[in-house]
């Protein structure tokens, strides 16, 4: 436990340090990609617990990310003024869940507030994960991979084919997500891509990531975490010891889906829009790749590799070879270091060589 505290302090120190360095060197544009990388890493650490600790692969997490992002985006942008008189709208309005305003052309606009939309999106994602998880998690190996891949593809198709979600254009002009209104001269604190809010958004993203990381670290050190590792080791043995494997797997699946949905909601408000490519199979594969690179059962590895590789990819370092780079990483890691790149120690490589020689 103590080592976690030290590591988290180092992480916080780094987060603040990087912000200060960009401030002094006038390279604050890096903060934009670091913010986005933090949100993507949220998906990755959630998936890391599912894959590494519970041992269940999911090729559909981009689907949950998209469910969060798309629902939040559509609820906060689609005008409900036409449904003004219906009971549901009156009820929602009475609960303070709607905001009215004016659009660019001065028309009346009535949309759901981001907080309500965010909570709705996350709850729906959790519900879908729950309903999907019950049958899907009974499957193993290839079948589980294909079933989750199929789920991801259905979400992608649904986003691409429904007018409500903007078809191939996606949804744009998503408003900022005001976390706290202005109180006593401090704030307002908003998730938005506005250049003026770059620094605070950087801290929102990293703050969220660190909080979620602490949550997961505590989870895997708890009774639940030990149960999960026992499932990974041998499901039959875990079952024989009285672990309710089906329930634990389902919980972790829902938890990781919620992480993905939260990331989707925040990133969509930050980017001001979402497109169908966020739901694509390649995205899901990329999340799996990053978890694999970090080491399956290694949250810190997943975090470090997730942030750094996503950052490089977002900076456009890999150019048109972006997907190819992730594919190669996936293969090379799985061939030579299935425990993740951080498990490779130079000493080990020499040791192995000696063993072969002798």
């Amino acid at each position: 436990m103590k080592s976690h505290v030290v590591k988290i302090c180092v992480l916080l120190f780094l987060v603040i340090g990087i912000q200060l360095i960009t401030h002094w060197t006038d390279t604050q544009f890096y903060l934009t990609q670091l913010t986005m990388a933090a949100y993507y890493s949220l998906v990755i650490i959630g998936l890391s617990v599912l894959m590494g600790y519970a041992g269940q692969i999911s090729l559909g997490h981009a689907g949950f990310f998209a469910i969060g992002g798309y629902l939040s985006a559509s609820l906060t942008t689609h005008n409900l003024i036409g449904l003004h008189d219906t009971t549901i709208i009156t009820m929602l309005s009475g609960m303070g869940m709607l905001v009215s305003g004016q659009d660019l052309y001065g028309e009346q606009l009535l949309v759901v507030t981001p907080w309500a939309a965010c909570i709705a999106a996350i709850m729906i994602a959790a519900l879908i994960a729950f309903v999907l998880g019950i049958p899907v998690l009974k499957l193993k190996g290839h079948y589980l991979a294909m079933a989750t891949l199929g789920f991801g593809t259905i979400i992608y198709r649904a986003a691409l084919a429904s007018e409500y979600f903007g078809e191939s254009d996606g949804i744009s002009e998503v408003p900022g997500f005001i976390l706290f209104p202005e109180i006593a001269g401090i704030g307002p604190l908003a998730v938005s891509g506005d250049f003026g809010h770059r620094v605070e958004n950087y801290y929102i993203a990293w703050g969220l990531l660190v909080i979620c990381l602490i949550l997961l670290l505590n989870l895997i050190d708890s009774r639940v975490g030990r149960a999960l590792r026992s499932i990974h080791g041998s499901e039959e043995a875990a079952e024989a010891m009285g672990v309710n494997t089906a329930r634990f797997k389902l919980y972790v699946f829902v938890l990781s889906a919620v992480f993905a949905a939260v990331a989707g909601v925040f990133l969509t408000h930050y980017n001001g829009g979402i497109g169908p490519s966020e739901a694509g199979v390649m995205k899901s594969v990329r999340y799996v790749a990053l978890v694999a690179v970090g080491g399956m059962a290694n949250l810190w590895g997943a975090l470090i590799m997730g942030v750094s590789l996503t950052f490089l990819s977002l900076r456009g370092v890999f150019g048109s070879y972006d997907d190819a780079v992730f594919g190669s990483i996936l293969i090379v890691i799985m061939l030579f270091a299935p425990e993740g790149i951080l498990s490779l120690k130079i000493k080990n490589i020499f040791l192995r060589k000696k063993e072969i020689d002798s």
């Binding site: 193993k140 190996g141 290839h142 084919a161 190819a324 996936l330």
Partner: protein
Amino acid sequence: MTFDLFFQLLFAGITYGIIYAIVAIGFNIIYNTTGIINFAQGEFVMLGGMISISLLHVVPLPVAIFGAVLITMIVGALIEMVFIRWLDNPSVLRLIIITIGLSILIREVALHIWGESIRSLPYFYGNEITAVQFGSVRFSPQILWVIGVCGVVVAGLSLFFGYTSLGREMRACSANRRAAILCGINTRNMVTFSFMLSAGIGALAGCVMSPITYTQYDIGTGLAIKGFTVAVLGGLGNSMAAVAAGIILGILEAFSITIVPLAFQDAIAITLLLIMLFLRPHGLFGSKEAAGLKEF
């Protein structure tokens, strides 16, 4: 629905269904000898189509197709030798991720070689508007080619697995790997052969379907999902049942456009796959007891 429309949809469904079935047979061959689902199977189909289109610039059609099948077989064998052969007892998760990585790599290589443009082979007989009249129903002769090729592949495979020593050795390898080793069969070579065979069959499917469905660098994933659906529908490992299952899926898809929008057509296969996995993972024609012995 008019009588003619019914038959048009039926023929379209059968054609697509048989294409899916050939992809599914590719899955089955590798699954049978190794227990691996090769997620890069769809990419073999794409490679077959693309290579034959490129070869067509220098050689006549039959030679181009033969060359494409041969080259894809070599690619399949190389992939197995470089990426899979030397792994010691790899876990299923590891193999899934490796084959997914391979499918991405092949797709990206294809993108950089052939670009994003949509290509196709010419029709094997006649052209786009040539039609065979059958009563009042007209259909393209290419459909007959697809059905013929599928028939030859299935018949050839049953002969190969039933009567040649290599085919028997491969079957032994799938029935019980350790026993096969004890009988002096080089099981590692059998795995390489199975990758070659399934790459070749995939490439052949890519060639015969190209005039109808066109070929693009990213057709692999969609085909792989549908091929896998068909393989599961028929019962994983059973090639004859895959043909029947393929035709069922093809017909379902073809008739679905009269009910749901075209954009959701792909969702049908996936929904069917999910339902099958939940309710009957051993397939429509498979036996539950036999499936219980396998590892899913």
